[in-house]
Symmetry: C2
Subunit: 181 residues, 2 copies
DNA sequence: ACGAGCATGTAACGGGTTACATGATTGA
DNA sequence: TCAATCATGTAACCCGTTACATGCTCGT
């Protein structure tokens, strides 16, 4: 999936400049891109060329002028098409598992320590995501249905980290049991 | 994390040719790379230049000669270093959540259908991973500890899909309840 | 005086993917 | 005869990241 649909979605909510989109994407736990300029400004040009968005230059005194992008009717129908299209399978790449795969060579202490470090990283990440969600500036709340959907999206993200936490804690316990036997 | 460590890990288990590594990586649920030639042959050249692996050409009658790579002592100590190093946080990118974010515009039927399709894709993926694990040709079983670790790795992968399944099923149920109210 | 925020853009690079290229053998 | 398997490699391309570049304003 390309970032263009993410941008198209945001613009279907409200018009925005590249700079605003960048910040929204940066802060969004769901939209997993880093929010770098390169991608966003390029994507906007492409969307413009395809006629899916339009822009309007807004001059401002005492700050640089900005290009406000808004979605066109064509953009809306393209977005709808995409939303009902075949979902992609989620991408889950866990480098830690590859690391663990060759951890036989470690002592029990080293292995235990490695698991603890992973656990604490996941925990930090969980808190960070919760924080992002709680602040949740950039989320439309136009009706109860939208609220429900966005809630479920947050729940999904959190459950991912919780699942990971439960797994690593389980593994640590089993290891301890094995070692004390 | 680069694929070089994955390859180094495999070679710490047993020597192999690029072609064999390709197949192992393709079939491995944990090593998430596609297993394309470009990456593997390039990585092997780099590992060779760094002195972490060595190769030996094996001529065969009635099939092309192959280069058998094996890990060096330097490679082993580099691998150990990496294994005890700071883990990375897992990468979880779910395009479906971005799609869902703009699903307010859908009818209840369309939304329900979308969720069902996602559920069936996850389910397929879960079965596929289970199959891969069950076949599990490419997994070292040198001792009970290694078996335990590899078991836990498989468990992690499966729990990811199971968690995703539980989430989507929960969402479907809640939606039905809401609609019947 | 300096850094942060607003605002737009470009350059360089790395990782990863598909597809192409070659060539022998084996089984349907 | 056609496709698959063994075996190595290259080319073209896309996506995404960091870093660079510019310039104005506002608060400390």
């Amino acid at each position: 999936m390309s970032i263009q649909y993410a941008i198209l979605g945001l613009l279907s909510w409200k018009p925005a400049s590249g700079y605003e989109l960048k910040k929204i994407i940066e802060d969004s736990p769901t939209m997993y891109w880093s929010g770098n300029n390169n991608q966003i400004y390029k994507a906007l040009v492409q969307l413009l060329n395809e006629g899916l968005v339009a822009n309007q230059i807004q001059h401002q005194e005492s700050s640089p002028s900005k290009k406000i992008y808004s979605i066109t009717n064509e953009g809306r129908s393209r977005l709808k098409e995409w939303v009902v299209s075949e979902p992609e399978i989620p991408e889950f790449k866990n480098a830690f598992l590859v690391q663990l795969a060759w951890a036989v060579q470690l002592s029990n202490e080293e292995l235990h320590d490695l698991l603890l470090r992973y656990e604490s990283m996941i925990n930090t990440q969980l808190l960070y995501q919760q924080e992002k969600i709680k602040r949740g500036i950039a989320s439309p709340k136009r009706n109860a249905r939208e609220l429900f959907i966005w809630d479920k999206i947050s729940e999904n993200l959190l459950s991912f980290y919780q699942n990971e936490l439960a797994w690593v804690q389980g593994m640590r316990e089993e290891l301890n049991k094995r070692n004390s036997e």
